[in-house]
């Protein structure tokens, strides 16, 4: 019997009077995976997360978290859930330790020693008032509060905001460990290189709609690559235009460049007619693929960087 999905939404919608929000978001996040939720500011990421957490109520559709109804069983869900809100705060006067103590009381049975362990790992000061901490150091406290009780599902809204590169690496390490433990991690992020490194799948949201859900390797694999070929002599582009998958071939100084998606072999055979002096094939980064969705709404528009 397959494990229950960690998150399932069915046409989840939250429409505000101004017209923003989310519409018909249908997705499944499998148990044990790390799922990235991508979109620019205002796309609907936080709205989706808050609807899942029963902080706001959908106008249509439904969601199930760990097999339970997100609204009716909200309290039961939160026993197994850890959440880092988008802009973590807990009051200026409270210390991280007081916040941990409160959460230990609210989460009957949680082990506060794990919070100390994470604090050491993230070099977080639990004994200073949160109002005296920088944004990054407050964010560490938020991460600790979300993760210290070893939840089955971690929902993290922009988790690395304000963290320095070393702490970002620690965070990625933590996510890896959570996945190895069997937990599910659902995170929204702008840090696309991190998402590319850590996520199994990503969902891309634009203007309140989920426009793609794919495995990261598949997304990158289907995206258009950029090919630059240096040739000696004149280059005839007609042969290239006939190759399936080749897009927009154009002559450049000393050669040809074109976009390409699909089987590389016909391309190589078409290039055999030229005197090729150099060949560069660039795979797009997740960022370029992501931006492609916002330029025209298709992964095929991802352009190449250097490899």
């Amino acid at each position: 019997m397959s494990p229950v999905a960690a998150i399932e939404t069915d046409r989840l919608s939250k429409v505000y009077p101004g017209g923003h929000g989310i519409e018909d978001v249908t997705m499944t996040v499998e148990a044990g995976e790390v799922f990235g939720f991508l979109g620019p500011n205002g796309a609907g990421k936080t709205t989706t997360i808050r609807a899942l957490l029963d902080l706001i109520h959908p106008t249509a559709g439904s969601a199930r978290i760990l097999g339970l109804d997100s609204r009716r069983d909200s309290v039961a869900i939160r026993r197994q859930l850890g959440n880092l809100p988008g802009d973590f705060g807990f009051g200026r006067e409270t210390t991280g330790r007081r916040a941990v103590e409160l959460m230990v009381r609210l989460r009957d049975g949680a082990d506060p020693a794990r919070a100390d362990e994470l604090a050491q790992r993230f070099r977080a000061d639990l004994d200073r008032p949160l109002g005296e901490l920088s944004r990054g150091n407050r964010q560490k406290i938020g991460l600790i509060l979300a993760a210290f009780h070893r939840p089955a599902l971690l929902v993290l809204d922009e988790p690395t905001g304000g963290l320095d590169p070393m702490m970002q690496e620690e965070f990625l390490g933590l996510v890896d460990e959570e996945r190895d433990r069997g937990a599910t991690v659902f995170l929204s992020s702008h840090e696309l290189d991190e998402v590319e490194r850590i996520c199994d799948r990503v969902g891309i949201v634009r203007e309140g709609r989920l426009i793609a859900v794919e495995r990261v390797p598949d997304l990158l694999g289907r995206a258009r690559r950029k090919v630059t070929v240096r040739v000696s002599g004149q280059a005839d582009l007609d042969d290239l235009r006939r190759v399936p998958g080749v897009v927009d071939p154009r002559a450049i100084e000393g050669g040809i460049s074109f976009g390409f998606a699909g089987d590389l072999d016909p391309v190589v055979k078409a290039l055999a007619g030229f005197h090729v002096t150099d060949l560069e094939v660039s795979r797009p980064t997740l960022e370029e693929v992501f931006l492609g969705y916002y330029e025209g709404g298709s992964a095929d528009k991802g352009a190449g960087g250097s490899t």
């Binding site: 808050r50 957490l53 706001i56 939160r78 859930l81 809100p85 705060g89 609210l106 938020g142």
Partner: protein, 234 residues
């Protein structure tokens, strides 16, 4: 302030009696001013009839607003509600914390007033004073309940505090209008101050005390229901 009133009473007693004797009867009844021939009457007229109830009501509403709206504004509510805590429990905790805070404030005020009375020789009766200050507490519970109800509509601390306190003030005005104009005496039934009375002189009215406390609890229940249904925007 109450302690100050008690301390200065012996000095102003004679003059007060003459001044009050000249007030119109209707005015005296409307503002609960008696003959001021003893410190209990003076304390009620100066503090317990208006200032203390409204001040304590404001304090109660502000405390609830801080625990609900303030928590939402600071982000603490998001974190607390990531734990397995029903929203109704959050409301109840805010209500109870405020009720305890107000009880402590009233107790301290009582103690200081009694101390002032001993120092100044004002003769404030301990039992009378206890009843006088205790009778304010259920009004504060109503203020707490009103704040929870308003939190069901707004998560701005200033709005919750202002609206709950404003309703208390409006009820005081209704009660006053009803006392000043016998033709409008029916409006007093819409005011909790009708049931507040003058406990420092006549003792706590048990039915009114329990009734106001129950009203506070009922407002808490209504407010918790509204709070559970509302969106908690980021």
């Amino acid at each position: 302030m109450s302690a100050f009133i008690v301390v200065i009473y012996p000095s102003v007693q004679g003059a007060l009696t003459k001044v009050v004797a000249q007030y119109p009867e209707g005015l005296k009844q409307a503002f609960g001013i008696g003959e001021l021939s003893n410190v209990e009457q003076y304390l009620h007229g100066e503090m317990l009839s208006l200032i203390v109830p409204l001040a304590v009501g404001y304090l109660a509403a502000r405390a609830v607003a801080s625990d609900l709206s303030g928590a939402a504004e600071s982000g603490r509510l998001d974190v607390v509600l990531s734990a397995p805590v029903p929203r109704a429990a959050v409301c109840a905790a805010a209500f109870l914390a405020s009720a305890v805070e107000v009880a402590v404030v009233l107790a301290l005020t009582l103690i200081l007033s009694l101390f002032g009375s001993v120092v100044a020789g004002s003769g404030l009766g301990v039992g009378d004073a206890i009843q006088g200050f205790a009778a304010v507490w259920p009004l504060a519970l109503v203020a707490c309940g009103l704040a929870v109800v308003v939190s069901g509509f707004s998560l701005k601390t200033s709005v919750v505090t202002g609206a709950a306190t404003g309703i208390l003030v409006a009820m005081y005005v209704l009660d006053l209008v009803g006392k000043l104009d016998s033709g409008l005496s029916w409006v007093r039934y819409a005011s909790i101050f009708k049931y507040y009375g003058n406990a420092i002189e006549t003792g706590i009215e048990p039915l009114a005390f329990v009734g106001l406390a129950c009203l506070g609890a009922a407002l808490l229940a209504l407010g918790a229901m509204l709070f559970a249904r509302r969106d908690l925007a980021a």
